[in-house]
Symmetry: C2
Subunit: 200 residues, 2 copies
Amino acid sequence: MNQPIEFFFDFVSPYGWFAAERIGGIARTHGRDVAWRPLLLGVTVKQAMGLPALLQTPLKGPYLLHDAERCARFYGLPWRPPTPITFSSVAAERAVVWAVARGDLDVEALVLGLYRRAWAEAGDISTPDAVADAAASIGFDRAALRAGIECQETKAGLRSSVADAVARGFFGSPFIVVDGEPFWGTDRLPIVEQWLESPW
Amino acid sequence: MNQPIEFFFDFVSPYGWFAAERIGGIARTHGRDVAWRPLLLGVTVKQAMGLPALLQTPLKGPYLLHDAERCARFYGLPWRPPTPITFSSVAAERAVVWAVARGDLDVEALVLGLYRRAWAEAGDISTPDAVADAAASIGFDRAALRAGIECQETKAGLRSSVADAVARGFFGSPFIVVDGEPFWGTDRLPIVEQWLESPW
């Protein structure tokens, strides 16, 4: 059995969204599952790399917002970013950790639903209640998910996922890992596909 | 007459090479010329953004070298990087500034020749003599180019090109500018092509 493709992402990153929309299809084409692995850019970028937050970086911050809008057009996705454009993704990522641990839920649908709520509908996913509302609107059990966000196992699971990302050198969103081989960025998806067909 | 596509790059960046190999063809397809515009990442990254050099950044530095090798395979290019992998690109960029100012030389051939010497042949382009040798080996007048590297107009031209890049917010290599619209990275070439066909 092939290993799943690990997909590390942060909901604050629209590039993670563009790749999330496509990674499931790529995985299925190659007989793989996707392991959805939240990370927190605030930890990987600031603490592990010692860099300022991307959007606060001179030149790069303003460029990236404009680039993301162009990328959305290129990938055929609507673009209505949240206000404010930076927000806490902790609650949303805990919801994903909880859904993965449950084992019987459609995690891809949850990830895409939350991503679209934030970046295609200018919606709020910055609090447990907002996340639960967004998830309920696409068919998830609101009460179960709302409780799951707060449970200790979930919180420990997110910390563990972030620590794993830092330990393995995955600093951005998305990081796509195929059989241990890491690829950073939506723009690397064509190279991910080449790798799945013909690894070194 | 269409404006030329501005192509900002630094020879220390292999991503600049990957894009340099393709931008001429893209420009010709769309009835454009290429304006070859050297910049110095040491200035744009360190001074304008306040960031450490890419290869010295924890996690990101080691990742990028590995990624560049995979990208070379993806683009069908040989990969024999220089030793040491970081070098001064000032002489090589002055040669390009001189060739552009001359107006009667094949600047694309010079850029590609120097890039291939460094990244496909593990060659040295870090000194005026090494640059002149590399250029002579692909048919350029060694003595004229060697003298051109040292002349004051050339040096001022490179300073001006770098200052222009910083002033306009172009911090990386390559930066590809179409009618004032900037695109960062080889991986944005498909979006550059979309833009050339259908700008906002």
